[in-house]
Amino acid sequence: MKNTDDFILDIQGLKVHFEMKGGILQRTTGVVKAVDGIDLKIRRGEILGLVGESGCGKTTVGRAVLRLIDATEGEVYFEGKNLLDQSPKTLKPMRRQMQIVFQDPISSLDPRTKIGATIAEGLKVHRLQRWKQPFSTFLALLELATDIPLWLGLRWLHKRLREPAILGALIGILGSVASFFRALAAEWDQTGNIEISNSQIRQKVLDALQKVGLEKTHTNRFPHEFSGGQRQRIGIARALVLDPTFIVLDEPVSALDVSIQSQVLNLLKDLQQQLDLTLLFIAHNMSVIEHLCDRIAVMYLGKIVEVASREELFKNPQHPYTQALMSAIPIPDPKTKRERIILEGDVPSPLNPPRACRFHTRCREAIEICAIDEPPLIDIGNGHMCACHLRQPEAAEPTGDDVTSVLSEVSPS
């Protein structure tokens, strides 16, 4: 059904480092390696879950991909173009196709703007401004006008000059002048702004509201008049109004109550199917991730440690960190008795992460090599990627690991 090799987004070696300043001369005293070299591909039309604990860099990935913060290194290809290379002008039309929904529905909405205006804002940003509309017509005329002197000039020259070499040179010069203007016109065109009337904007806002299950009458209300769940719907509508193909959802349900959370999750699933969206769903809650995502990437301290399809990951988690993470999640069934893996200590600081495998300081299975060499993220079978020295392709078959058996107990008997 989905073309498995059709990647809408391809992240290669992405690094985002933040410098810490200090001292008398405000020198860099340390570097927070929030994201430290990750590769990730997102297929068209899939929901990719990015899961990890606070401080693992998952939110930073989401923002760096949309260029909301600057990446230190790496490439991010969106529809084949490297986003990190784009100038503001060429980035703008791409931005329209990529949207973001934030975690906190309260603080991400302007309290003094009616939600109709909030949703329409995106359209207005990308709209060809009114004064520019006649200008674009003017440019079209200019393009035509450059052709006229070329034509007239050629006729005039033809009479005056006999020397064909000079004639050729002059035609060349005139031609380049004309193409300069054409390029100028094309440059204007490249901002990709759309010509849209106010009534069309209104219609699009209403469409977006309807898609997220809100009503027409809501456009004239302020954010504080809505409940948390409704505000998150507004956030989604704001992203949808530009007809994006790719949306980053940064913890969109973690601030919501469980009964509201389920409403929003169902909505996201429906929208993804109806509008054929590609979603990068960032969350810390494994259960939510499992419910929504087709494929899941697990992050730990700025690195991706495991990527697999939903079925594969939850049936057969491989990385020791993923196993611990899953076993730590409380299951709402008092009869399930699991052997828990309780990790010792805190997550190390990204300012000074452990060498080699970053998980080795807390890993139960760590061996000597884990502190010496960093394990690469490799395919250990069926597209299940894992970065662990102890999980090699030949060892991919079930190892009788406790978590594996634990999880089969969890599934309905």
Binding site: G22, G23, I24, T29
Partner: protein
Amino acid sequence: MTGYILRRLILAIPVIIGILFFTFALTRLLPSDPCRQQLQEHATEAVCREFNRRHGLDQPIPEQFRRYLGDIARGDFGDSFEYGYSVSRLMVERFPRTLELTVYAMLFAIIVGVPLGIISAYYHHSAIDVGTMVGANLGVSMPVFWLGLMLAYVFGVLLKDTIFWLPPGGSGVDTRPFYEVWGLSVEASETSIWTFIAHMDTLNPLLGGNLAGFWDNFRHMILPMAALGTIPLSIIARMSRSSLLEVLGQNYVRTARAKGVRERGVVFKHAFRNAMLPVVTIIGLSFGSLLSGAVLTETVFGLSGVGDALFSAITGRDYTVVQAFTIVIAIIFVFVNLVVDILYVFLDPRIRLE
């Protein structure tokens, strides 16, 4: 810690150089000529040429600035055109009184303002709270000179012949310099630190054990102090109130109560220190407006301090005096704010010292 202080001191250097430059430039940019202002009808061409030569005013402006910086580096602020003696001596004569007035006003503002703020925050929405805040708003909006005149009228004129009477102007009796009382054989030149301290109206008699003299001089300070301190008092009261209100709603205050800390402990131990953080900043900042307010207050109450001298220096184009006082006031302001920042570090461990 020392690194932090050092960094702050180094950062203060460009500020002070900037101040030096601007005060120099501003005085030179003023129209009119110091010779005419000073000598009035005696200012003939020949006299003025001599006047300018003696004060270095015949030199080109960059040369004047160069000399000026060199002199300041040697601690020489030059001579006053008007008084005919060194600005340093004028400063030693005048500055102690202004300093005392400012410090008293500041203490008055803090000692009254902080408790008022605490009380109104604790009894939020009560009559005390509303009353205090109405008073504070009035206090902020009253000009110093008007308040000064009103206070002088009420306490000096209306309440005359009652025990509430306070002198409406001037300073108290002269007292013997404390070092003479102590029998110290110090060489108190006109610009020495001894003379500086001896010029403090209330500190000098106190050091000299002359309580009557202290009381008389202090009584003369009360009205100027109240007039000058009212604006910062109001600001401090409002700030303490809103800050404490915010802190009382914090999670750790709830924790303190849940631990069984009594109300008094909750307010004074857990909330107070946190609530004082923004207030300390405000105190530092209002010190600047206090110094400038002191100029007006001294004029109203006829105290001969810096304000008085600065006022006549500005009108008389007495460049050296204007420059010197501006620089000293600016440096004090920079220094006070440096102290505030360092205090902040002690109060709030979250501020990193690097």
